[in-house]
Symmetry: C2
Subunit: 329 residues, 2 copies
Amino acid sequence: MSKPTIYSIAQRCGVSAATVSRVFNRPELVSPRVREQVTAVARELGYLPNPAARGLVTGRAETIGLIVSDITNPFFPLLVRSIQRTAERMGSSVMLVDAEESAAAEVRHVARLRGRVDGVIVASPRSSSAALREAAKGLPCVLLNRPLRDLSSVLCDNTSALFEAGEHLHKHGHRSFALLAGPSASWAAARRSQAIRGWARGRGVELTELGPFRATFKGGRQAGAALLETAATAAFAFDDLTACGVLAELAGRGVAVPGDRSVVGCDDVLLARTVTPSLTTVTAPMDDLGAIAVQVLTRQIEAPGGAPEHHRLPGVFVARDSTGPRSTS
Amino acid sequence: MSKPTIYSIAQRCGVSAATVSRVFNRPELVSPRVREQVTAVARELGYLPNPAARGLVTGRAETIGLIVSDITNPFFPLLVRSIQRTAERMGSSVMLVDAEESAAAEVRHVARLRGRVDGVIVASPRSSSAALREAAKGLPCVLLNRPLRDLSSVLCDNTSALFEAGEHLHKHGHRSFALLAGPSASWAAARRSQAIRGWARGRGVELTELGPFRATFKGGRQAGAALLETAATAAFAFDDLTACGVLAELAGRGVAVPGDRSVVGCDDVLLARTVTPSLTTVTAPMDDLGAIAVQVLTRQIEAPGGAPEHHRLPGVFVARDSTGPRSTS
DNA sequence: AGGAACAATGAAAGCGATTGCATTGATTCT
DNA sequence: AGAATCAATGCAATCGCTTTCATTGTTCCT
């Protein structure tokens, strides 16, 4: 009993393999009688088309690659889920690769994926633009949170939400702020810093820039320590993970949040809600980010060499417990 | 300029395609002169073997499937990373699928993966044993945190670590305990409950069983609320996520940890260190779990129908700040 | 020197699907 | 009725690679 193929089915049904193939791909070309018989036999034999064989002739793997810069960052799970869901709906599987925060690994993995997938999504790449461009040459590719003229991209833009965050803090009486910058290789970090600087300048408030810090809990603790050396009463952390580090550091030193200092994060990952105090942050539209990325990629795959698309989704400010009135010291 | 194949290379080198193929698969069979020439031309042309074509004849996809019950659970990222790393070392890619906590989805995905992968790892399955057995029929498969006689499994056994946790609490003067049980479909939950019951009985201390609660932050809050209705001064939460919920609930009600109550988690996920107070918990040997799972799977793939292997790795107790002396009320 | 053993290579048969083209009746049109 | 059209199906080539078997020189014995 070897694995059933279109041939074994064809034989059992007294038709040709071509007909069996058509039953699955272009059923309208096959007479209802034959169609049903083939379907029945296929089910009975537990037939499953061989993806390798199919892929060999169609040139499609029905699979997309997803490279994330660091899977342990709580930002990704929801994104992965959303991408997976959308891909599945389009009939594709997802090959996930964790680059473990290494730019070199990102590029290496794109190369390795080539041929096994129809296209790739690179989420929050750390690689240089040139490296990415080179690595993606001739391979449908969508960048997440990294703009690049000649490659499609889907970005989450938190500028306006960060403005709101600023206003929220300002209303609470804060006048002196700290910007805890994220990794310099991250576009999101640069973008957020820029937004906050812009807001502070426009508002005419004092802004102390610290960092860059790594986008990890530890990086956050360092940021927290640095923060305490300034007079800032409110701080913008690069993301929620960093913010949690800040919170932990402050708590460890007996500094009350939001009593003594206010902290805002970014991304609204699970952590943001579970930490105490819960984080005031900016919610990223994960579901849409993932879904759009897959859709764009699908388009790129179907029309290779088409013009790159660029999408930009806004984050949403959400106030929780890590921000409050300025301490009256 | 279409994609280079072994034929284009063969032509350029004045040899046959078979020779080119051998250069990549059995280089010792090819004369050094030819070997080098082929390698050079291949590099020059940017040749990459077509995995579909290769897979068609070898019957191998060089890919393993990884099904996780819920990718948003912080337990998984490190596991995924470890599995990925090991798989890569063995020359395989990983196809990740998130079952979104649905038992039905797990089974469905195993079916969908069949043919695209050489074998699957199912992590913390929620499906019934019968369903799993059926779904994995004829497909190399390794279960993570779920024992099943006829399927290979890799388990993390926290029994002795939980004993230690109990002793640790006992030393701090606790005499009345609560067991906040996890989801009933989870083997780990059952196992942990059993361990704790065993310890309490042996120690002759009072143990109140509560739950089952869902393995989510919310479930933890409910558990926390339930805990407060008992006189227990120390609680064993199912996992860290639940424990964090408990912590949040207690904090919200002004109950001090570890001042009023002590809490221990399990798994030692990132969260455990980031939450305040940091969680006393049991560290799961993620790296080993993942690595062993892949190795076992590889063996199953190479010798299909071989006897299933069963591995059991112990967790390690680690004391942090969520446990302390019994309150002197 | 004649044959055995061996190293290096090529020819060709698949692997399991898809798909363009040809074939065959049946139906419709004039 | 004969031509044209069309629906249903089969034939056979093809995708790119691996692998068995056969072939051809070389080298090594005795």
